[in-house]
Amino acid sequence: MKKTYEIEVDCANCANKMEDATKKTEGVAGCTVNFMTQKMIVEFAEGADEKKVMKQVLKNCKKVEDDCEIYL
């Protein structure tokens, strides 16, 4: 299952860092962060609880880039 989220991040490299952090989160099968459109496309692993996973994703992203925001 794929879902798109609006995000806010103000540098391109930070967007890459968010992408990395999200990919490493448990329950995430794949992720692309589109800096230009400020969107994040997350592919969830089978059986993953999307809400729980996204909470963790946000936490992990905040860890690498304090300024970022994901609108869940």
């Binding site: 103000d10 540098c11 391109a12 490299n13 890459n16 230009m36 459109t37 969107k39 304090d66 300024d67």
Partner: protein
């Protein structure tokens, strides 16, 4: 900043003059300078320092804020130790770094707005007539089959069919075609086009989410999410670049001075200079210029192409498109109109019009495409009362009595059977021989006509460096070769079944090691081939969901010239990408080398860093301008 320094400097001299002893006073007042310099440093760098502090807590040592903070604080400490009072450097680095960040966010915001303006086709509302007055509703709430009213100047919000009114439509935002299109009752209209003159009533045939405009917007907005190899390369590079530069900085701060002290009998005084060089490294370690310019270039390229009616579904496809060396075409509907037309009347014993009239009348009962083309070539109303005794002979043709004349129309088999001597045609196409009252009266040639711009399209492909053009078709080889020779296509494979086309494309891909192979089709029955080719280009896909699904590049109108345009756009975009990568890397490495040798100071480092970013971003925005390609 310089003014500030001069002001401080004079202030310093005043104070020292008043005290009488210059050197001593400078030392006494050093802490005063230090604090005075810290004020602007704090004001400019406050948020960077804050972020850096947060970064340390989170253990993010390669965070650029942290690196900037280390570099500037380090510079201040070195200045303190060396007692040269040169704190301006730290302030300048902070200032330019901030200016760079500001410029970056302005440029990105601006190009995003530019592109969304280009794709400004999203309708805000739909008009529904209720009790004689118009009501504006959200397009997504309109159900299929509803009649909506589109006034002049408004966008058509949902795909549908005109039920009332005539008007001309501006479809430039969708197809790049600037000529307005006339529509009247019964015509299909697509969402996103702008109604220019009359009021139209349109019965919707799709929901808003399924309408052309929504599909296009979705496609364009998501296009830059499919990352190209260059983008992958840069983000991987950035991941290694920053740590690598930081470790080299550390090595630079420790190893050379240690070496000098151990083997060259130098004292501890060599340390500050090397630490300063190491700090210069940290200033150059930020990869932002590189990282921002690449997605920005692709974004601009995709946006620019979109404005020309070329939808590219991802940055990766833009990249592949730029490497295309062979273009494979489907014939019918791609290079030809896919509609049969009368292209010639030969050896006629009666007038052209008379012959066509007999033919059209004799064929009036048939719904075969050939009969249709005869009727449209005749162009007048058909009075069926004039026709009697219509008999269709399968595989041969039709006989009928028109105005009392015995008309036979069909292929050479029919002529043989009727024992009428006929003249063979040298033309390509379907030949209809005609006999009137048992006597040969000439033949009509019906063929699928080439699009006006097909020849130009092939020529342009060749001039833009495409090595080979191939045409695949299910048609007879004589027809196919005729078209190919006329258009200047290199290779033809004819009499193919739809399934064979995939095999042919696979063979071409195998023969073309290195160069990429593009397949251009009308998208309706070519889906498997579109998917199999390195890059699938669907033409005239307006409203055809299947084509939009299967293809990687979608040409909104039927014009094959757009193929070479798409390739040129992709090449320009990729050229910009490579320019930016090379430029940024060369400058960065040059600065690293000069910094290590002690030639480049921190001023140069920050100028190089911000300057490279500004130039790369401006260069990236150039990808948006593709109209004249």
């Amino acid at each position: 900043m310089i003014a500030l320094r001069i002001a401080y400097h004079f202030l310093g001299e005043d104070v020292s003059d008043a005290n009488g002893a210059v050197v001593k006073a400078a030392l006494v007042h050093e802490p005063v300078w230090f604090i005075l310099y810290l004020i602007p440093y704090g004001i400019i760098g406050y948020d960077i320092l804050k972020k850096a502090f947060k970064g340390i807590i989170r253990g993010q040592v390669f965070d650029e804020n942290f690196l900037m903070a280390v570099a500037t604080i380090g510079a201040i400490v070195v200045a303190l130790v060396q007692k040269n009072g040169d704190y301006t450097e730290a302030i300048a680095v902070m200032l330019f770094y901030q200016i760079g960040e500001l410029f970056q966010s302005i440029a990105v915001g601006k190009s995003r707005r530019n592109i969304s303006k280009l794709m400004d086709i999203r309708p805000d509302y739909a008009n529904i007539e209720r009790d004689g007055s118009l009501e504006q509703v959200d397009p997504s709430e309109v159900s299929v089959g509803t009649v909506i009213v589109v006034q002049p100047g408004e966008k058509i919000p949902i795909d549908g069919i005109v039920t009332e009114g005539t008007s001309s439509l501006n479809t430039v935002a969708l197809t790049g075609e600037s000529l307005p299109r006339d529509v009247r009752s019964g015509d299909e209209v697509i969402s996103g086009s702008i109604n220019l003159s009359g009021v139209l009533k349109v019965q919707t045939t799709k929901e808003f989410g399924e309408s052309t405009v929504s599909k296009i917007l979705e496609l364009v907005e998501n296009a830059s999410s499919r990352k190209s190899k260059s983008e992958e390369f840069i983000s991987k590079f950035a991941r290694f670049y920053t740590p690598a530069v930081c470790y080299s900085a550390l090595a630079l701060a420790i190893l050379p001075p240690l070496f000098q002290m151990l083997f060259m009998q130098r004292g501890i005084e060599v340390w500050p200079a090397w630490i300063y060089r190491a700090l210069t490294f940290l200033v150059i370690s930020c990869p932002c210029a590189l990282v921002i310019s690449i997605p920005l270039s692709f974004f601009a390229g995709i946006g620019g192409a979109g404005k020309e009616g070329i939808l590219i579904k991802g940055s990766n496809y833009l990249e592949t498109l730029s490497k295309v060396k062979t273009v494979v075409f489907d014939k019918t509907g791609t290079l030809t109109k896919g509609v049969f037309e009368v292209t010639g009347v030969h050896h006629n014993q009666v007038e052209n019009e008379k012959l066509l009239e007999y033919a059209a009348l004799a064929e009036c009962a048939s719904s075969h495409p050939i009969s249709k083309s005869l009727q449209s070539a005749y162009g007048r109303e058909i009075n069926r009362d004039r026709v009697k005794d219509i008999e269709e002979i399968s595989g041969e043709g039709i006989t009928a009595v028109v105005d009392g004349v015995q008309v036979a129309i069909g292929n050479h088999k029919m002529m043989h059977r009727l024992n009428v001597p006929h003249i063979d045609c040298h033309c390509v196409g379907t030949i209809l021989h005609m006999a009137l009252d048992g006597k040969y009266a000439g033949h009509i040639v019906i063929s699928d006509v080439e699009k006006e711009s097909s020849k130009e399209a092939i020529g342009k492909l060749r001039s833009s460096g495409i090595r080979k053009t191939v045409m695949l078709t299910g048609d007879a080889s004589k027809v196919a070769e005729g078209v190919a020779a006329d258009l200047g296509i290199d290779e033809v494979v004819s009499e193919l079944l739809p399934a064979d086309k995939v095999g042919e494309v696979e063979r071409i891909i195998k023969e073309n090691e290195g160069g990429k192979v593009a397949f251009v089709g009308d998208g309706i029955n070519d889906a498997p081939v579109l998917t199999r080719a390195d890059i699938g280009i669907a033409m005239g896909a307006m409203g055809s969901d299947a084509a939009i699904e299967a293809a990687d590049v979608v040409l909104m109108d039927d014009d094959p010239v757009k193929i070479s345009k798409a390739i040129r756009i992709s090449r320009k975009c990729l050229r910009i990408v490579y320019e930016n990568i090379t430029f940024a890397l060369v400058i960065k490495f040059a600065c690293l080398v000069l910094g290590a040798l002690g030639i480049a100071n921190m001023w140069l480092a920050i100028f190089a860093d911000v300057g490279v970013m500004i130039i790369a971003v401006l260069n990236a925005i150039r990808a948006l301008r593709v109209h004249k390609l």
